[in-house]
Amino acid sequence: MKADKEIKKKRMRLSLPPEEYMHSGHLACQGCGATLAMRYALKALGPRTALSIPACCWSVIDGPFPYSSLSIPIFHCAFETAAVSAAGLKAGLEMVGDKETTVVAWAGDGGTFDIGIQALSGVAERNDNIIYVCYDNEAYMNTGIQRSSATPYGAWTTTTPVKHYKNRPKKDIDAIMAAHRIPYLATANISYPEDLYRKVRKAKDIKGTRFIHIYTPCPTGWKTRPEDTIKLGKLAVQTCIFPLYEVEDGSTWKINIKPRDKKPVKDYLRLQGRFRHLNEEAISFIQEEVDKKWARLLKYEEVSPL
C-alpha cells in the first residue's frame, strides 16, 4: 500500500528489537498467547539460544518434521523432563566447548506444575545453569483442555465440567520456586512485552537456575475471543489475579506493577466462557482469595524488599 502525500514520514520507533526468531507458518490458534511469549522471549535471548521443549502446545505449534518455525535449535524432549533435559544439554554443550549458548527449558503449565515438577525441583535444588520458562495457559491445552494444577479456582475444563468445576486453588508455583532459593524468578505477562523482555534479558545474565512464569491466554481453552488476548492480560494484572513481581535468592521480593485502580475480578471473569457458570457466591470467593493473596504479596515485599 503506497503512502499518500498527506501521511507524515516520521521514523517508527519500536519498543522491542526488530529481529524475529519465530517465523510465520506455525500452527498456533488465532490469538494464541503462547506464541507471543515465545516471540518476545527469543528477542531477549538472541540467536545463541537452545530450547528444550517437552510435550505441550509448543511441540505442535513449532510445526511437524521436517520443519520448525524457530530459527534456533530445539530439543523436543519427553514430557516430564524439560528442566533436566535442558540441564543435560547445557552440560553437554559446555563439555564440547560451547560455554556461550543459553539453554532454556520451555514448558507449559502441565509440564511444569504437574508431571514436570520433580525434574524442575531437582534442577532448582542443584541450581543447574539453565533458564526455565513456563508459559501458563492454565490447563492441558495440547491434549484438549483438561485441568492442570495451574487451572484457577472456578474454571471449566473438560475434566472439571460445569457441574464439577475446579474447586482447588491454582498451585502457587512461584512460591515453590522461591522456596528452592534459586537466584532469580519472575512472573511475566504477554500484555506487558517490554517488562517480559527486560526480565528475560536480566535472567540471561545470571548464573544458576532462573525461572520465568508467563501468563499466556488461550482463546480456545478459555472460550474467549481471539482479539481479547492482550486485554485479558492487562486485566489479569489490574485485578491482581496475576501480579507481576520478581524474587531474588528466594528471599527478596519486588512487585513491578501496583495498580492504582484495582479492578474487580468480575471484569476479568466475565470475558471468559470458562467462568460463565459462576454464581455471585463463587465470584465473591474468588475476589476474597485474590485480595488475600495480594495482601500477602505486598507484605512479602514490605518485609524483604529487593
Binding site: 500500500m1 503512502a3 499518500d4 498527506e6 501521511i7 514520514k9 516520521k10 521514523r11 517508527m12 520507533r13 519500536l14 519498543s15 522491542l16 526488530p18 529481529e19 524475529e20 519465530m22 517465523h23 510465520s24 507458518g25 506455525h26 500452527l27 498456533a28 488465532q30 490469538g31 494464541c32 498467547g33 506464541t35 507471543l36 516471540r39 513449532d62 510445526g63 518434521f65 521436517p66 520443519y67 520448525s68 518455525s69 530459527s71 512485552p193 475471543r225 481471539p226 482479539e227 481479547d228 488476548t229 492482550i230 486485554k231
Partner: protein, 99 residues
Amino acid sequence: MKKQEPTPKIDFKSEKDMPLAPYSLGLMLHNFTGAWRNIRPEINLKECIQCGICWKFCPDTAIYIENEYPVIDYTYCKGCGLCAEECPTKCITMVEEEK
C-alpha cells in the same frame, strides 16, 4: 522487520534422503496460514500514528515494517483481530473475506 519469503516444501523420495534422526531441515514459511482466516485486518495509513503496537502484538509475526509503516502480510495473517483491537487510534478494521 522485513517481509518474510516463503521457504520450500520438503518431500523425501526415498529413506536415503531422510536424516538419520527426526530433525528439521527448514522453516514453516511454506505453510500459508492466511488461508485460515475469514476476516482480514485493513490498516488506514492516514490515521496510523506509527506506534508499532500492531506489529508488537501479532502472534503470527504477520505484520512487517516497510517505509516506516506497518504492512499486513496476508500470506500468513490468521485474522485473529488483535492488531485491530489494540490499535490506539482504531485505524485497523476487520473486514469480511470475500469467497
